[in-house]
């Protein structure tokens, strides 16, 4: 595998940038992350699962946060299936497979953020399977009162900080964290810029590209991702691509186990431009900048409490707010409809689905729903459903 492209000096075309991202995405041996680790003795890599982890802390500890979002459709899962019944979603299996086949043997720590009971239990399995890897189940608050949930969360962040200090053997100063927050603020701004760009000119930024760009970003240093994002924005803006007679849609429900790339492409092929989505939410989880002044831990906690997205793994304290976030985003991105695409057997998303869809209906936003698995092979039913949706938006609205 190639070493990391120096995007700082080489302004590249979208094709080059995306090829680089695709290579990172396809590489289930994480060669680039291994190279990063080996480049400087003592470096540590900390893996994290969907849907949100405070990457700022990992970065401040001098570690590489490595996003682990399953094995996609390219991995043959043998041992992973031995740990799960058929009615459990795919992502924990392929994650276990990555672990037991030694592909993660360079990962020094693992963070299992709170998404659902499956990931929660996986954190315990990891402790049994890999007793020498530092691992942490990271339970974020479901109480959004700064004095209750906020205080609890700050203490949890502090505990995480201490865990990372123990792992790396170095202290993480408040300034370290502030510096990381600033870099991630840049990242969030650039990510939003790419999303805005796509919403404006979706034919210039196909979703499969945006997706690869974001996924690859979770496997590299944030500084590099920031450069890559800027380069992509510049290149995509400059390139002329044909505009097709597609409809504009938003995709929700895919915050954890990711759909196969072919599915993302199929939706577009069937006549839909994706202008908003919740794929790999991590880098869009906080919707605003985190203040760099004052107590950085408190700032992170506050940002989570006050400016994080609505998603299925978070409690919505007020009934009337349910689905509000989605509707606002749909309007902002000027999407004509919503595809609620969830992994099979994903309780959080599937139990949320009726509630969110009801709200969409109330708001007059057309929507359809289907399920997928990260290794879905048959795209025909997907094309048919997405295609009919596109037909209907095109012919009659």
């Amino acid at each position: 595998m190639n070493a990391i492209v120096d995007t700082a000096t080489a302004p590249t075309s979208t094709a080059e940038i995306i090829a680089h991202c695709q290579a990172l995405f396809d590489d289930l041996n994480f060669t680039a992350a291994r190279a990063w680790k080996n480049a400087v003795p003592g470096r540590k890599v900390v893996g994290f699962l969907p849907v949100y982890a405070p990457l700022e802390l990992i970065h401040a500890a001098g570690c590489l946060p490595l996003g682990l979002f399953g094995g996609g459709d390219r991995m043959e899962v043998i041992h992973g299936d031995a740990y799960y019944q058929s009615y459990i979603c795919r992502i924990p299996r392929s994650t276990v497979e990555l672990g037991v086949t030694g592909r993660l043997d360079f990962v020094d720590g693992m963070i299992f953020p709170f998404v659902c009971d499956v990931i929660r239990n996986l954190s315990g399995m990891w402790k049994i399977m890999f007793p020498n890897v530092w691992s942490k189940f990271f339970d974020t608050p479901q109480n959004f009162d700064p004095e209750i949930g906020g205080r609890y969360y700050a203490a949890e962040l502090q505990e995480l900080r201490e865990g990372l200090q123990a792992l790396t053997g170095r202290t993480i100063s408040d300034d370290d964290i502030r510096r990381s927050i600033a870099l991630y603020n840049d990242n969030r701004r650039l990510v939003r810029a790419v999303y805005d760009f796509r919403a404006r000119t979706p034919w210039k930024a196909p979703t499969s590209e945006v997706y690869l760009l974001m996924r690859a970003g979770l496997m590299m240093e944030v500084e590099e991702h920031n450069r890559l994002l800027s380069a992509y924005l510049a290149a995509a803006e400059a390139e002329d691509r044909p505009k097709r007679d597609n409809v504009r849609i938003a995709v929700y429900g895919s915050f954890c186990e990711q759909p196969p790339l072919n599915l993302i492409k199929s939706v577009e092929m069937a006549g839909c431009y994706v202008v908003e989505d919740d794929y790999a939410l991590v880098n869009r989880f906080l919707t605003e900048d985190v203040p760099v002044e004052g107590d950085p831990i408190a700032a992170l906690a506050r940002a989570y409490i006050e400016t994080s997205v609505e998603t299925s793994c978070k409690y919505v304290p007020r009934e009337e707010d349910k689905g509000k976030f989605h509707i606002e985003q749909v309007k902002k991105a000027r999407a004509e409809g919503v595809i609620y695409a969830t992994p099979s057997f994903c309780d959080p998303a599937l139990l949320d689905r009726p509630m969110i869809c009801r709200r969409l209906t109330e708001a007059g936003i057309p929507h359809i729903a289907f399920k997928y698995a990260e290794n879905s092979g048959q795209m025909q039913p997907i094309r048919e459903q997405a295609g009919t949706f596109a037909d209907s938006l095109k012919l009659w609205s």
């Binding site: 740990y83 929660r120 009162d145 505990e159 919505v316 304290p317 009934e319």
Partner: protein
């Protein structure tokens, strides 16, 4: 099907449950308030101290499962847009609402006055009550109980729960009930709880005897009934457990096993099992029969710990009321991390001298099921006793394949038998 034979304690419990349903369905006459809340992490003593009645949707789902209504309810929920993939307790509950919301006593359930979302050990709870909230538009109080990811609770977790109790739950309940919080009433209830808990633990531990005078799974679900539901902290529960204890003592004295639904004492116990996971409710008796027909008795189970792990020493403590409620919530079985579950089950297999661990994996329940295959492997490795794995569902009759389950159980029992003979021959 002939009427199942029931022991006196079961009849007593049946009466208690009926009385509670009557109290719930007559709330408009009595003017009492009704809450909905979940079994794991339920705050029955606290509710009782406000005079609020407790209606547990999981128990309703079980009742509907046993009365063969759940299948239709689940279909009803699926028709309204719920996925086939998700927890069937939720769908049975939602479907029941869709079909008139009739309580087991034949009267309509009144709308709850408050949803007490004690979010302990299961993610689905959160969605479940978001869904109910949408329906009832009633006050919803969320108590977030953090998961013991590292195998133990921390001070931060406990403080977090206690502050939620103080700032959210208690003021919320005061408002709903119009009653001022009275810590002494709470203490009194907690004192009652601890008494009943002592007797429950005694009963469950009798599974260590040979023959076992109890069945800690099929019988066990009756033993835990009152203390896991609306009766913890009440004098009725104390009386129930005294009666149960007497009943079990009588069997010990007679040297006989538990009573089966056929009415016979099941004393010819060939296999002793530890069972992990909830039972199937839609074919409960058939399922049970597959065990005692083959001579298998369950000596310990994890399902009887979902509403509190009293056998590991926890007791509600009148001297530290809110802290002990926090500890109770944190310590429920499904709020323990996987390595701890392995430790507990391993200990059961050893302490109860079981032939092995049997897992009944429930399609509905990710909280229990995700990771059970690893639990089995680990327990097998540590105890050198073979495990077995069967798959059913709680209340979805479509997922109970009798032939399939029977085949696996028989194979498992025959394997234990063959191993024993092999060992005898070698000796």
């Amino acid at each position: 099907m002939s009427e199942a034979v029931k022991e006196p304690s079961m009849l007593l419990q049946k009466e208690m449950i009926a009385k509670n349903y009557d109290a719930i369905t007559s709330k408009h006459q009595s003017g009492r308030k009704v809450s909905s809340t979940f079994v794991p992490g339920n705050l029955n003593e606290l509710l009782a101290s406000f005079g609020i009645l407790n209606n547990l949707p999981e128990i309703n789902a079980i009742q509907n499962g046993m009365r063969k209504l759940s299948g239709d309810y689940i279909l009803e929920a699926e028709k309204s847009g719920h996925s086939e993939d998700v927890c069937t307790y939720v769908k049975a509950d939602i479907g029941m609402m869709g079909k008139g919301n009739i309580a087991p006593n034949g009267k309509p359930f009144p709308d709850p006055d408050v949803l007490l979302l004690s979010y302990t050990g299961c993610y689905t709870f959160m969605k479940w009550f978001e869904l109910l909230r949408e329906e009832y538009k009633c006050p919803t109080l969320m108590l977030h109980v953090p998961y013991e990811g590292d195998g133990h609770s921390t001070k931060n977790m406990r403080d977090y729960i206690v502050s939620q109790l103080k700032e959210v739950i208690i003021p919320g309940l005061e408002q709903v009930s119009g009653v001022k919080f009275d810590i002494d009433r709470l203490r009194e209830a907690l004192r009652n709880s601890a008494k009943a808990e002592d007797d429950l633990v005694w009963v469950l531990e009798q599974g260590k005897r040979t023959p076992s005078p109890i069945d800690a799974y099929f019988g066990g679900v009756y033993y835990i009934g009152p203390i896991f539901t609306a009766f913890r902290g009440t004098p009725e529960a104390i009386a129930y457990y005294q009666a149960l204890r007497k009943e079990v003592q009588a069997r010990i004295d007679a040297g006989v096993g538990p009573v089966t639904p056929d009415g016979s004492n099941f004393s010819d116990q060939k296999y002793r099992l530890v069972v992990e996971g909830p039972p199937n409710w839609t074919s409960f008796r058939d399922f049970w029969k597959m065990f005692y027909d083959e001579g298998a008795v369950v000596v310990a189970s994890s399902y009887t710990k979902v509403g509190g792990m009293y056998d590991l020493g926890f007791r509600h403590d009148p001297d530290h009321p809110l802290e002990s409620l926090a500890d109770y919530c944190l310590g429920c079985y499904t709020n323990r991390n996987l390595p701890t579950r392995v430790d507990i089950l391993t200990k059961y297999v050893e302490d109860y001298q079981a032939d092995g661990l049997l897992i009944n994996s429930i399609k509905s329940c990710n909280s229990f099921s995700a990771g059970q295959l690893m639990i089995m492997k680990e327990v097998e490795r540590r105890t050198s006793k073979p495990g077995a794995f069967i798959e059913t569902d709680l209340v979805d009759p479509r997922y109970f394949s009798a032939a399939n389950v029977k085949n696996r159980l028989e194979s498992y029992f025959q394997m234990i038998e063959q191993k024993r003979r092999g060992a005898a021959r070698a000796a």
